[in-house]
Every structure is written in structure tokens, then in C-alpha cells.
Amino acid sequence: MNDKNGSFMKSKRRLIDNILWIGLIAVLAALIFIPGAIGKSTHTHVLVLVLLYASMAQSWNILGGYCGQISFGHSVFFGLGAYGAGMAMVTYGSMPWLGILAGAIIAAVTSVLLGWPCFKLRGHYFAIATFAIVEIFGRVFLIWDWIGGALGLDYPIIKDSWSYFLWSSNKTGYYTGALVLFVFIFGVVRYIESRKLGYYMRAVKEGQETAESLGVNSTKVKLTAMALSAFLAALCGAFFAQYNYRVDPPMVMSLDMSMKFVLITILGGMGTFWGPFLGAAVLIPLQEYTRTSLAFLGPGVDQMVYGLLIIFMMVRQPKGIMGFLAEFGILGRNEKKEATGDDAS
């Protein structure tokens, strides 16, 4: 009886997850076709940011959440992607696509070259090494003239088009692009989550020694997770550059940007499929609207709210919104409760 109940619960959860996922895509896609829903409004801007930051967080979640390697260096990969797009557009005056691909590949290769030695470091040493990497990249990019130095790269004025992925009059294109990015990155995670790589990543996170004793090459798994994570983060970076019409080092390769990857994921729930989306869906609107509604209190108030929110989450529920939901028994994995329930029966 226990057995049936258990597997029933599990398959039911997976079904609910699938319905939610497809439903979410359908709703977000439908917005494009509803006249007036998407366009020039600030709400569109917020929606684009939610999708972008959710995608960034999800790319980080692969390495940090599923594989347990908490990196504070993802803004480097994000920046490499942004520069890939920027260089193609500005320096070579071409369409961004090849540049985006090149940026993403460079990011993946860089991540492996950096990860290979850094994965030997434990705990805080690894964290500080990733901080140091961000600082090094950020500063070197500041003085590197070939890629535009401190001035950065400013996009030329080009007619709105899909081929250049640039729009100035209307945000529908960006929204559509962000949605594609979002579905792609979340789709990748959804796919690997239930497959060998997903299991191996979680095994490495939960117990590296155990994983190795089961034939898992933990270094290879971590590097694969890292490369994938960096590649996807770079795609987000490219979108960010296209969306902002420019790229410069502090805009992308900063510690604050790295922290965004981490905090949105943690706010939503690390190592969960929905966490990155929930984190972005709560944090981004909150920030955007507090900025405008609390503007009379002076600058920085939205950031103060952000800081307090982080403190509150870490003190109250470090598993994030998914943790809160599990407390109420909605969504996600709350086997813990079932287990104690089963013990009684």
C-alpha cells in the first residue's frame, strides 16, 4: 500500500509539474498575440527582465544548485557572451549570431580551464577564488582596447529587425527572444534533470565519495556542469547586451552581477526546477516597483529592500520560496513529510 501510494504521489507530482510547465509557456506565449499585452509599456520591460534573470539563475542552478558547486564567478561567462554579441555587432559590424555562438563557446572553454584547478579548492577557498576571477576579468577588460576598454561597445543605430535582434520602438521582439531563451534553458534543465547527467550531478553534490564509489567521475561531472552552465549564462549575457544596446565591463563582469545569479536562485530554491523562475518572478517586480513607488524616500531604497529580503530569506528559509511552498505541502519535493507519515502507519 505504501509502495503504491509513494509512486502514485511521485508520478502525480511529475504530471502536475509538466502541466504547470506547459501551461506557463502557453500563457507567456499567448501574451505575444494579445494586442496591447506586450509592447512599449514598463510592464513588458519587467516581464523581459523576469524571463532573462530566471534564465540566468537557471543556468547558474545547473552548477550551483544541482551539482553543489557554489560559484560567484558567473558574471565572467555572462560578460563573455555579452562581449561576443557586442564584438560582432560593433567591431565587425555584422549580425550578432556568430558572435553569440563564439562568446558562448569561449565561455564554456574558459569555465573548464578555470574550473579544472579551482574544483580542488574547498568551501570558502573556492568561493574566494571565484570572486578573484571576477575581479581579474573585470579589470583586464577595462584596459583591453581591442574589446573597447572602459568605454565599452556602443551599438550603432540599426533598423529594428530580427536578423540583428535589435528593436528600439517596440519590445515585442525582445519579449519573444527572452521567452525563447527562457524555454530553451529551462528545457535543457528539465531534460537533464531526469537523466544520467542530472542524477550524477546531484550525487556529486550529496556525497562526492559515494558518487565516486559508484563509478561517477566527479571531476568530469563537475566540469560538464560548469561548461553547460557557462555556455547558457553566456547566451543570457548576449541577450543582455542586445537589450541594452551596449556592453561595458562593470555592467556585466561585476561581483554584483555574479551575486544576482546566486541570489535569485537561492531566493527561489536551489537545486529545484522552479526555484530560478520563482526567484526572478518575485524579486524583479519587487525591485522594479519599489524603485518607482519608494522613489520619494531617496536613492537606494529598492536595494535596501533587496538586502533585507536576502537577510530574511537566509534567516528564515534558506531553501527559498520552494522551501516555503514545501512547508505548506505545495509543489516540489516534500518526501520528508510523507516519510514521517508512513512511519506512523
Partner: protein, 252 residues
């Protein structure tokens, strides 16, 4: 045919010699017991064989291949896997997911891995717990999970590090039965155990360690009457008891 051959294995931590030139071999299909007092170097020996430690001297040959100092995961891929004395469940994953991690080694496909994992879960009497988080189970179930998980990697040889110790007497009997069943499936087993009642009756051979050195090796009845082993480890009482019972399980 010799499946595992340990030759002159020496391991030191600083100046402390944990294993001193230990040599023994395990034939295919055997159950070999490794016994000895606390601190005699049994777990260190396991760690050297399974690749966790790099021995400073000596050779470990498994299935005709020199595996000395090979990384743990490569040794596991060759078909030699181990359980941990202090159980290490992947706590935030369910029992089935734990076992699937093992199964993915030979079955990269999701459905095939799941099927194989279910088989192992069933074999280790864990079916009713398969959707529980591994971290939430009793110690007995966690020990079974350790076995189920390595079984899923379809190993030729299994190293069991105190899989019976700490279990209730019913659980212990089940575990011993399981070990016997594994041998019937054609797997070779090397086990460290403190509970003589569990290890003596089922072993084909016993290797005794004391202070890091091998002091005896032989069939269980020979070991039980070996003077050195009695004075170093077993004590008079057990030797007598074993002689009387003729080696049955479960005295308590």
C-alpha cells in the same frame, strides 16, 4: 581463479603504519572475511583496495589488471565497488534515485537504469521505501541501501564494510541471507565484520589483521582455533562457542 590479489600492501599515515605488507587473494565466487581488533587497519585496507587511498608500497591486482592507485571511479567501472562503514546515503535523493545513480553506470538509458534499479531495490527488501528520502531512513535500511546501490553497478566483486554491525538481529539475519544470495548470483565478496556469528558461517576464507599486519589466513574453523587469532582478537570464549555450535548463525 584469483579475482583480487593484494600483494605486499603497505600504508602509512605520517609515522603510523596502518597496513604492513599485507598479502592475500580472493578467488572468484568466494566470500572472504576480513577480521581483526579495532584499529588493526581493516578499513584502511579497504580504502587502499577501493582506490580512496594510495598505498605507499605494494600492488592490488583485480581481474588481471593492476588497479593500484587508480581513482575510485575507475575501479568501480572495472567492477569492484564498496560500501561504507559509516553509511553515506545521498540524503536529499530518494532511495530509488540513490540506486539509479549506481544503475546509470551500466545503463545510460533512463528507462533501463530505472528497471535495473527497481530490481536491486527489490532484492534488498527496500521496495516499500523506494520513494523516501534516503536521509530519513533507519540505519538498517540505510545499510541495505548501500548494498542495493552498489549492486546496481553490476559489480564482479563487492567490498562490504561492516554491513551487519549495528543492525537488529532480524535485520542482521536478512543481511547475511542477502550476502549469501549475492554469492549465488556469482558475485565475489570481501567483507569486514566484527560480528563473528555473521561472518564465520558464510565465509570460505578468513583473513585476520592485527596492528596492520596479517597474522592468519585460512578456513573459518582453522581461524577459530588458531592460537594467535584467539589471543589477538577472538578470545577464549568465542573459540569455545564456535566449536560447540559448529558455526551456526544467531546465538543471541
Amino acid at each position: 581463479m584469483t579475482l583480487l590479489d593484494v600483494h605486499g600492501l603497505t600504508m602509512k599515515f605520517g609515522s603510523l603504519v596502518a597496513n604492513r605488507e599485507v598479502s592475500f587473494s580472493v578467488d572468484e565466487g568466494q566470500i572472504v572475511g576480513l577480521i581483526g581488533p579495532n584499529g588493526s587497519g581493516k578499513t584502511t585496507l579497504f580504502n587502499c583496495v577501493s582506490g580512496l587511498y594510495k598505498p605507499i608500497a605494494g600492488r592490488v591486482v583485480f581481474n588481471g589488471k593492476d588497479i593500484t592507485s587508480k581513482p575510485v571511479h575507475e575501479i568501480a567501472q572495472l567492477g569492484l565497488t564498496r560500501t561504507f562503514q559509516i553509511v553515506k546515503p545521498l540524503s536529499d535523493m530518494t532511495v530509488l534515485e540513490n540506486v539509479m545513480v549506481g544503475a546509470y553506470l551500466r545503463y545510460p538509458d533512463r528507462e533501463a537504469a530505472r528497471e535495473e534499479a527497481l530490481k536491486c531495490v527489490k532484492l534488498c527488501y527496500l521496495e516499500e521505501f523506494r520513494d523516501r528520502l534516503a536521509g530519513d531512513m533507519t540505519i538498517g535500511n540505510k545499510k541495505r541501501l548501500e548494498v542495493a546501490r552498489i549492486l546496481a553497478t553490476n559489480p564482479k566483486m563487492i567490498l562490504l564494510d561492516e554491513s551487519v554491525a549495528g543492525l537488529t538481529s532480524t535485520e542482521a539475519k536478512e543481511m547475511v541471507a542477502l550476502i549469501v544470495k549475492l554469492r549465488e548470483e556469482g558475485r565475489t565478496i570481501l567483507m569486514v565484520e566484527h560480528i563473528m556469528e555473521a561472518i564465520m558461517p558464510i565465509s570460505d576464507k578468513i583473513v585476520v589483521l592485527s596492528s596492520g599486519s596479517k597474522i592468519a589466513e585460512g578456513r573459518p574453523e582453522e581461524i577459530a582455533s588458531d592460537e594467535r587469532v584467539i589471543s589477538a582478537y577472538l578470545g577464549e570464549k568465542y573459540a569455545k562457542r564456535f566449536a560447540h555450535s559448529g558455526g551456526g548463525v544467531g546465538h543471541e
